[in-house]
Symmetry: C2
Subunit: 134 residues, 2 copies
DNA sequence: CCTTGACCTTCCAGTTACTGGAAGCCTTAC
DNA sequence: GTAAGGCTTCCAGTAACTGGAAGGTCAAGG
């Protein structure tokens, strides 16, 4: 398999696959012409990584997850712990975004959005109305 | 005011303020010793930026918002439009994170998290159980 | 006057995870 | 033979800082 087929089947961009090889996340054999040649096993790894990335795991997490996946003596506790850490991270981001969202939505609602310069959004940013700040 | 006072009063790191100056977001006068000297006006701008950043606006958005803030002939419609665009962006991120969260939480629940290697999380990543995928 | 510690300066490198583009070789089909 | 499309490497850029090194400045204490 050449890189484009792997890209199509894994859902990753060819560039991304080259990048993953560069940082040592996967390996690729080379044909006599210098082209990368992929076996099913590498495709499988790449699909694994693509799935993990789509769940928001960092590249470092992916590396660890791949290591655990390939370790027949792993304890699922280790996987679970890693996943929980990531879940906490997601929850923190969610809380932050939700806080932003609610403040922003309130400000947008208050803004008439017409030709006049008066604007509660700018007033809030300028700190002119600290009482209303969430 | 020296940079550290401005940092304290704006809530930004001194490094960040230097960076904002470097990219032309704010200006700072210099004393005879080469130190940056800030007036209240610049502090105010920096606090404005800090607040906008805390609502998730990008640096480019901050630049635009500052421009609008300083334009006495602005139309609040322009501010509102910018803010709405950002709100949409936040909503997209929220949806993405929530999707990740729900899948991840489900997988974590299913994982016994003990010394054994069997792990629904890894199985999902490996695509061994596509039916259960969210 | 000297020293010490807390400031301040600039500059360079690193972070995350790619992405775009240039220059150039390889393959396949017509 | 040539044109299209795929492959290669390498370099640069993205966002928004952050850390650290090397070195100048300032105020207080002895």
């Amino acid at each position: 398999m050449n890189i484009k087929d792997v890209a199509r089947r894994s859902g990753l961009a060819a560039k991304t696959i080259r990048y993953y090889e560069e940082i040592g996340l996967v390996r690729a054999a080379r044909g006599s012409n210098g082209y990368r040649v992929f076996q099913e096993a590498e495709l499988h790894k790449l699909a694994f990584i693509a799935r993990a990335r789509s769940l928001g795991f960092s590249i470092d997490d992916c590396r660890a997850l791949l290591g655990l996946y390939e370790d027949r003596n792993r304890a699922s506790a280790n996987v679970k712990e890693l996943a929980k850490g990531h879940l906490d991270c997601i929850d923190r981001k969610l809380a932050e975004l939700q806080a932003m969202r609610s403040t922003l939505a309130r400000l947008i609602e208050q803004c008439s959005g017409d030709h006049r310069p008066d604007c509660p959004i700018l007033e809030d940013l300028a700190g002119q109305d600290p009482a209303r700040r969430s």
